[in-house]
């Protein structure tokens, strides 16, 4: 019998090597340097300015993957909005602002913001590192000059900004180039002390938010889709908690659902992406449809008997929600509502499903879920339809928030 050129001993040790080091905690054995320490050193040398988290921001401390402490500011926040959310899932940002009002927190939402432009970059490659870093720094600097700390709504912006922060800290030539460009637009190179995602803000305030709950969620089975660019890009910065899946999965989103008293069901493809693919959602739609149905929606329903898929990012909410209807052509008769954690929490806390949570923009049937939660969406729908008529007749719109005049600058 021919012998394999690779001995069994080598095979075994190779396998051991893989199984030992593929564990996500392998990163702990070769922990990357803490960029925040390096940032502090650069600041001390006068190389960069840092946007600090101050007492006014009322930070709450959490632990990340490597056991490092991350401070999450909860107050005086500058909304770094998401174009995909604002354009397509408007109840996402409104729910965040609704909670901030409820909790009496100070914030600024204004017009001097661009998106991170990273969706386009990942999809088409029509940008470069210097442009991405400059866009990031321009937004950070704008937040800095207002005195508010940036809160990043989008998962891709969050992942991208963590990458940009790290690259800016590591590479002097990148800093020099960005500084040169910022000077041309009358700005400076500033870097925030922490890059903070809204799901982290929701996470640290989960008990205060859960205290606002008016509906019983104990019979609702949720499944969580953790967003790739939130937890797989710069993974060492992500919040883990020993009480959530034994510290083996990111804690945000799952933890607030538990705090709200909902059931969180496990499913075998929890780690898979949603199928968004950046370019695929536009140009390879067959992939987005098939992947989201076959690897996410079907598994959430059949394995977990889920009532609702809960997301924490923009593209995932869209992909999982919008691709269900077409599945009927191939016998996928699922109708699983999809919404962000903050929208689900807002519904639980009595936010108007139409005017605040803007659930009407979601395409996969959510009516049964809202009935099960005890949310009276029929009255809300009737009021919303009447409100649309009033707006058509020229009534001024209701506002949860209007920026101060000096932050409008529409000219």
């Amino acid at each position: 019998m021919a012998t394999s050129p690779i001995s069994d001993k080598v095979r075994t040790s190779g396998w051991e090597f893989i199984t030992k080091t593929v564990d996500k905690r392998a990163i702990m054995k070769a922990a990357p340097k803490d960029p925040r320490e390096e940032l502090a050193e650069l600041e001390a040398k006068g190389e960069v300015k840092v946007i600090h988290i101050t007492e006014e921001n009322r930070p709450i401390e959490v632990e990340t993957l490597l056991g490092r402490t991350k401070r999450i500011p909860t107050n005086k926040l500058w909304h770094h909005k998401s174009c995909g959310q604002c354009g397509n899932i408007p109840g996402y940002p409104t729910s965040i602002m609704w909670f901030m009002n409820k909790l009496g927190l100070e914030f600024l939402d204004e017009t001097h913001q661009t998106s991170c432009t990273a969706w386009n970059y990942h999809g088409s490659g029509t940008s470069n590192l210097v442009a991405l870093a400059s866009v990031a720094v321009r937004n950070w600097h704008r937040a800095y000059e207002t005195g508010y700390f940036p809160l990043i709504h989008c998962g891709t912006s969050f992942g991208n900004y963590k990458e940009m922060r790290n690259l800016l800290i590591e590479h002097k030539d990148l800093r020099d180039e960005v500084r040169r460009i910022m000077a041309k637009v009358g700005r400076e190179l500033v870097i925030p002390e922490e890059i903070v995602h809204y799901s982290e803000w929701l996470h640290v305030l989960r008990h205060q938010i859960a205290a606002l709950k008016i509906h019983d969620l104990s019979s609702i089975i949720t499944t969580v889709h953790p967003a790739c660019h939130v937890w797989k890009l710069v993974p060492e910065d992500v919040i883990y908690d020993p009480n959530i899946y034994g510290g083996q999965r990111p804690a945000p989103t799952t933890a607030i659902l538990l705090a709200l008293g909902a059931q969180v069901a496990d499913y075998s493809t929890w780690y898979d992406c949603c199928g968004f693919g950046f370019r695929h959602i536009l140009t390879e739609r067959e992939f987005s449809r098939s992947f989201s149905l076959e690897r996410k929606i079907k598994v959430m329903v059949e394995e977990a008997n889920s009532d609702v898929a809960i997301t924490q990012d923009t593209g995932c909410t869209t992909t999982l929600d919008k691709n269900q209807w077409i599945g009927k052509a191939h016998g996928y008769n699922y109708e699983l509502p999809v919404m962000a954690d903050v929208q689900f929490a807002a519904l639980a806390a009595g936010a108007d499903p139409y005017k605040v949570v803007q659930i009407q923009w979601h395409t996969s049937g959510w009516e049964k879920l809202l009935d099960k939660m005890g949310v009276d969406w029929r009255t809300s729908k009737a009021e919303y339809e009447a409100y649309l008529e009033e707006l058509k007749a020229g009534r001024e719109p209701e506002q949860l928030y209007v920026p101060p005049v000096e932050n409008l600058n529409l000219h």
Partner: protein, 236 residues
């Protein structure tokens, strides 16, 4: 650092569109400042491909991408840049799991960027459906806007999409956040913000790239840039 060194290291020169010699493409990939961070060696174990969503649905394997780049076979790398690497869904599951702490998805991103900035043939085909996104991202820095969700573009999204696009201005007005009550941008973007963004695109070669690879789009964008600059500068 000289302008030339900055170019090869941090960004490519848009005037090198058309330079598609295989060796120079591989050199550009390996010369990227991020290359050392995304590739540390490769065990050829296939863990990345085992968890790759695109591997399930396409003839695509991140293991093969990494191995091909490491092999130094410039022609094979060039062949991959034409179509193969565009199957990647940019989810970074591979990066999360690679025992070498590689990021095959990050490598793919560098390769895509080189493919675009060298104007490779496939890029024109691949970017075609991107025109609307590019126009928005170049003009206002938004990538998706409410008026882009139209039933003729998303017929597979089902019967609720026509609702979303009818009476859009009124429905947007009914969103209770002032900055969101618009239809052609995701939020109200101040002209000053676009003005600053144009400087960034100009200084980083992005406008010049678009001029080279999509002259029609560039014409539209440059008109908008000129108008806005005139308005802002005359109001000073």
């Amino acid at each position: 650092m000289s302008e030339e060194a900055v170019m090869t290291h941090l960004r490519l020169d848009p005037d090198n569109v058309g330079e598609q010699d295989a060796e120079s493409l591989l050199e550009a990939i390996k010369g990227d400042v991020r290359y050392e961070e995304v590739i540390h060696g490769c065990l050829n174990c296939g863990v990345c491909s085992g968890s790759c969503p695109s591997h399930r649905f396409f003839d695509y394997s991140p293991r093969i991408v990494v191995q091909t780049v490491l092999s130094g076979d410039a022609q094979a790398v060039k062949d991959m840049m034409d179509e193969y690497i565009w199957a990647c869904a940019q989810c970074y599951t591979c990066a999360m799991r690679c025992p070498f702490h590689n990021s095959p998805g990050g490598l793919v991103m560098i390769m895509r960027e080189v493919a675009v900035w060298r104007g490779m043939e496939a890029v024109h085909r691949l970017l075609k459906p991107y025109g609307r996104v590019l126009l928005k991202v170049l003009s206002i820095g938004n990538q998706l806007t409410p008026d882009m969700i139209q039933p003729d573009f998303f017929p597979d999204w089902g019967p609720k999409i026509p609702w979303s696009s009818t009476d859009l201005a009124i429905k947007r007005k009914a969103i209770p956040v002032y900055t969101l009550q618009v239809t052609t941008s995701a939020w109200r973007v101040s002209p000053q913000t676009s003005y600053e963004l144009y400087t960034i695109y100009e200084e980083t070669g992005v406008f010049r790239l678009i001029e080279q690879i999509d002259p029609n789009l560039y014409e539209v964008v440059s008109d908008m840039v000129e108008d806005l600059r005139d308005t802002i500068e005359s109001s000073r």
